[in-house]
C-alpha cells in the first residue's frame, strides 16, 4: 500500500480531480486492449501539463516508487498492466496540439492527443499524419510513440519512428529533457529513435514534434476476392515481388469478412475465402498502370472478382470495414486476443497455413485480418474467458504461432509491442548478449528501473512460474 502522505503529495500537484483512487473507479484501469490479464493500480494520476508530469515523477522519485504510463489504453500487449508499479500516470489530460507549421510540415502535440486529431487538424492544408493504426480514433500519440505503432498505410509511408522528429521526455527522475526537434540532423546519438518503441520504460513522453506528409493526390482502392486464403497470400507475395509498392495491402479472411458484413452490411461476399484490400496512391498519372499490374497478379493467383472503389464514399466504406474489423470480432466470441508476429513477406502463405493448422489442433477459432504487405500477421484467437481450458489453449496456440514466425525468419511483434504478453518469448529472438545490451540502454534513462517495470524483458525475478500469480489474471 502506498502511504497516504504520498498520495497527498500527488494530489497537491495535480489537484483532487487529477487523482483516481476509489476501487470502483480504478476498475477502468485494470487492463488495456490485452484482456487476458488484469491488475488495477493503487492510484491513477492525471497531470494536465508536462510540468505536472515532471512534478509527479519527482514525488515518486523521492520515495523510489515505480509507475506505469498510460495513454488511451488501447494497447494490445498489456503494456499498461501495473506489475510492481502502484502508480499509473495517465496522459488523457495532456490533449493540446501546441503548434502547427504548415510550411515545414511539422506539428507539436502533447502526448495525450488522439492520433486522429492530428490529421483532422491539418487536413484542410492538404496534410496528414501518416501512421494510421486502426485504433486511431482513440489511441494517443504518446502510446503510438511508446509502441512504435504502425497501421495499414505504413507499408508505403513507414511506422511511427519515421515520423517523430522530436520528443520531450520526463525521465523517471522528474527531469524534463527535449530530444531532437523540428530541425532534422541534430548532432549526437539518435535518442529520439531509441525512445520510440521503448514501451514507456524510459519515462513519460510529454510532447512530440511530428512530421506531416501531403495527402496523396489520388487513390485506386481495389477489393480482390479470393476463394482461399492461400490464393490471396500468393497474390500478396506476387504484388510485392512485382515491384509494386501499394500504399496498403490488407487481408481479411472468411471469419472476419462475415463478421464485418454482419456489422456493417456493405455487400462483402460472405462466401469468399479471403479478400485483399489493395490501395495504390500518388499523383494521378501512372496509378491506372500500377492498378492494372496489381490486377494482373491477382488474376494469376486465381482471383474470383475485383471491385474498384468508384468514388471517395466507396473507398471510405471499404476502409471502414478494415478499420473496424476488430470491433466486429466482438460478434464472434466474448473475448479475443490478437497476435502480432511478422514473417518475411514471401512466407505469408506458409504462416497463414500454419495458423489454420494450429487452430485445428487446439480446437480454436482463429480469424485473420492483417497487414499482409508487411508480413505482419494478426491472428485473432477467439475464446470465452470463463472457459479455463480454452484460455490455456489460446495461450499455447499463440506461443506456437510466434515460435513459427521466428523460425521463418521473422519477429514476435510488428507493432503491438512485447508488453507483458510476450516477455517469455523474447529469448526466442534475442540471445543473452542482445538482452544485456538492451538492459544497459534502459539503465541510461532509468537507472532504478522504475518506469514500467517487468515489461519487455524476462527479468530474473519474474520467471515464468512466479509471474502469473503475481498478476491477477482474469482467468
Amino acid at each position: 500500500m502506498l502511504p497516504a502522505s504520498l498520495v497527498a503529495r500527488l494530489r497537491a500537484v495535480v489537484g483532487a480531480d487529477g487523482i483516481v483512487d476509489r476501487p470502483e473507479a480504478l476498475l477502468v484501469y485494470e487492463c488495456d486492449g490485452y484482456t487476458l490479464e488484469r491488475a488495477a493500480p493503487e492510484v491513477v494520476v492525471l497531470p494536465r501539463t508536462p510540468a505536472e508530469v515532471s512534478a509527479v515523477l519527482r514525488v515518486l522519485a523521492a520515495d523510489h516508487v515505480s509507475f506505469v504510463p498510460r495513454g488511451a489504453g488501447t494497447g494490445l500487449s498489456g503494456g499498461t498492466l501495473p506489475i510492481g508499479a502502484p502508480v499509473m500516470i495517465g496522459t488523457s489530460r495532456l490533449g493540446r496540439i501546441e503548434t502547427i507549421d504548415v510550411r515545414n510540415h511539422r506539428i507539436v502535440a502533447q502526448a495525450g492527443v488522439v492520433n486522429q486529431w492530428v490529421t483532422n487538424a491539418v487536413r484542410a492544408h492538404g496534410l496528414c499524419y501518416a501512421p494510421d493504426p486502426s485504433s486511431q480514433p482513440a489511441c494517443s500519440i504518446g502510446g503510438n510513440i511508446a509502441e512504435n505503432s504502425g497501421g495499414p498505410h505504413t507499408l508505403k509511408y513507414g511506422v511511427t519512428t519515421n515520423h517523430v522528429l522530436g520528443v520531450e521526455l520526463a525521465l523517471p527522475s522528474g527531469e524534463l529533457v527535449t530530444l531532437g526537434g523540428a530541425v532534422e540532423d541534430r548532432p549526437g546519438y539518435d535518442l529520439v529513435g531509441l525512445v520510440v518503441g521503448a514501451e514507456g520504460t524510459f519515462g513519460i513522453v510529454t510532447r512530440a514534434t511530428l512530421r506531416l506528409v501531403r495527402v496523396p493526390a489520388a487513390h485506386r482502392t481495389l477489393l480482390a476476392v479470393f476463394d482461399s486464403v492461400d490464393a490471396a497470400s500468393e497474390a500478396v507475395s506476387g504484388i510485392i515481388a512485382a515491384g509494386i509498392v501499394p500504399a496498403a495491402l490488407e487481408m481479411m479472411d472468411r471469419l472476419i469478412v462475415q463478421a464485418v458484413e454482419a456489422a456493417f452490411k456493405v455487400g462483402l461476399p460472405t462466401d469468399a475465402g479471403a479478400v485483399l484490400l489493395i490501395e495504390i496512391d500518388g499523383p494521378a498519372a501512372g496509378l491506372d498502370a500500377h492498378a492494372a499490374r496489381a490486377t494482373a497478379v491477382c488474376r494469376t493467383a486465381g482471383v474470383r472478382e475485383i471491385r474498384v472503389a468508384r468514388d471517395e464514399a466507396e473507398r471510405a466504406a471499404l476502409w471502414k470495414c478494415r478499420k473496424r474489423a476488430f470491433g466486429a470480432v466482438g460478434r464472434l466470441a466474448p473475448n479475443y486476443c490478437t497476435q502480432d508476429g511478422v514473417v518475411p513477406r514471401t512466407r505469408v502463405p506458409e504462416i497463414v497455413r500454419h495458423i489454420a493448422a494450429v487452430a485445428a489442433r487446439h480446437r480454436l477459432r482463429i480469424a485473420n485480418v492483417f497487414h499482409a504487405g508487411d508480413g505482419n500477421i494478426h491472428p485473432i484467437l477467439l475464446f470465452d474467458e470463463r472457459d479455463r481450458d480454452e484460455v490455456a489453449r489460446v495461450r499455447a496456440a499463440g506461443r506456437e504461432i510466434l515460435e513459427t514466425c521466428v523460425a521463418l525468419g521473422g519477429s514476435l511483434t510488428g507493432e503491438h509491442g512485447i508488453g507483458v504478453e510476450k516477455v517469455a518469448e523474447m529469448p526466442l529472438l534475442f540471445g543473452p548478449d542482445d538482452l544485456v545490451a538492451m538492459t544497459r540502454l534502459r539503465a541510461v534513462f532509468d537507472p532504478e528501473g522504475r518506469a514500467n517495470p517487468h515489461k519487455i524483458f524476462p527479468d530474473a525475478k519474474v520467471c515464468v512460474e512466479t509471474r502469473v500469480p503475481r498478476r491477477q489474471a482474469a482467468v
Binding site: Y189, G197, N376
Partner: protein, 422 residues
Amino acid sequence: MTDWAALVGPTWVASGGAADAVDGVVPARVVRPGSLAEVQTVVRAVAEHRQALVASGRGAHLDMGAPPARLDVLLRLDRLTRVVDHQAADMTVTVEAGCPLAALGAALGSAGQWLSLDPPRPEETTVGGLVAANLSGPLRASQGGVRDLLIGLRVVNADGAVVAGGGRVVKNVAGYDLPKLHVGALGSVGVIVEATFKVRPRPPVEEAVVVACGTAREAAETALVLRDSDAAPLWLQVAGAGGLPEGPGEGAAAVVGLGGIAEEVADARACVERVGASLGLRTLFVTDGAALRARLGAFAVEPAAAVLRAATLPSEVGSVMERLAATARERQTVVRCLADAATGVVRAALTEVLAVGPLVKTVRPDLERHGGTLVVERAVPDAKVGVDVWGDPGPGLRLMRSLKAAFDPGGIFSPGRYVGSL
C-alpha cells in the same frame, strides 16, 4: 604487446603510415580482420590493453568528426564484403560491413532494386561507414535516411560480444531499436559488422529539371512550391550561386529529380514546367537525372578546406544560404552552397583553411538560437584546429555521456571523435 599477426595473419597487419592517419593522428597499426571472429578477437585485444581503435571501411569518410584523442589501431573491415542474403521478393538485404555500396548496388540492380541511399563515392563507401557516419545523398528527400531503411544490425561491443538488434523483417518492434544507437555514432559505441536494410524497386525512369532562379532565396522558395506540387519530387536540391558543380545553370537554381514509370515522369515534368512558367522562371530539362543527382551528391566530398553542414527548417534554407554567403563575403572569402530543400540541410564548401573557424563562430550561434545546428562535416586536419566541429548537441548531452559510458566504459571506440568529446 599484442601479437596482431597471430590474431589475423601476418598479411593483414601493417604499421600505420601517414596515409592511414585520422585527422592527422597516425595509428600504430592497421589491422584487417577476415572474419567476424577475428573482429571480436581484435576488439578484445584492444580492450585488454586499454588501447583505442577507429573502425573504418575503405577510409573514404574518415575526415568526419573531431580528431581522435587516442588511436592505436585502425581496424579496417574491407575484407568483410559479402552480400549475405538478398531476398529480392521480400525486398530486404543483409550485407557485411565492408561491402562497398557500388557492389551492393550491382547485386540489387540485377533484381531491379536499390538501397535508396546515395552518398557520394559509392565505390569507396562501405555499408559500415554508411551506417556509422549516417551518410545520405539527394534521395533522402523522398526515401528517408539510414535510420528509415536500416532494419537490423550486428555489432561487436566493447566486451567483444556480438550484439544483434532488429532483424530481417520490414516491421519489427520486439525490444529496443538498438540499430538506431549506431546510426551516425561514428563507431563510438561498437564495431558494425553486418547490416540489414529494406530495399525498394528502383524507378525505371529518372529525369531532372533545373529551375533557374535569381537568388538562393528564390530557389529555396521555388523548391518548396515544387515539394507541395504533384511533381512528387524524388529529390529536391537548392543550389546557391555557383553551387551547381558543373553542367546546367550557373546561378542559383531549384533542381528537382523525377522518378517512376515513363508516364509518371512525363506528367511530373509537365507539372514542374507549369510551376516554372507560373513563377516566370526558366526551366531546363535533364534526361539523365541519376547522373545529375550523383554530381550534386558529390558536393559533400569535393576537395575543399571544409564542408559545413547547417541544419534548419525547410522554410529557412534560403536565408541560411544567404547568411553563409554574406558572412563569407565580409571575410573576403567565398562559400558555395547546396541544400536539400525537403530536409533543410544546407552544405557550404569553403576553400580557405583560415576562414573555417571564424565562419563557424559567426554563423553557428545565430543558427542554434533558432533551433538549427552547424557541424563541420568534413575538413582537412588544419581546418579543425581550435574549432568545435560538432557544436551544441542539445539538452540530450548528459544522456549521451551516460550512453557512451554504458556501451564503451573503457573508451576504446574512437575516443574523442564524437559530440561532447565522447
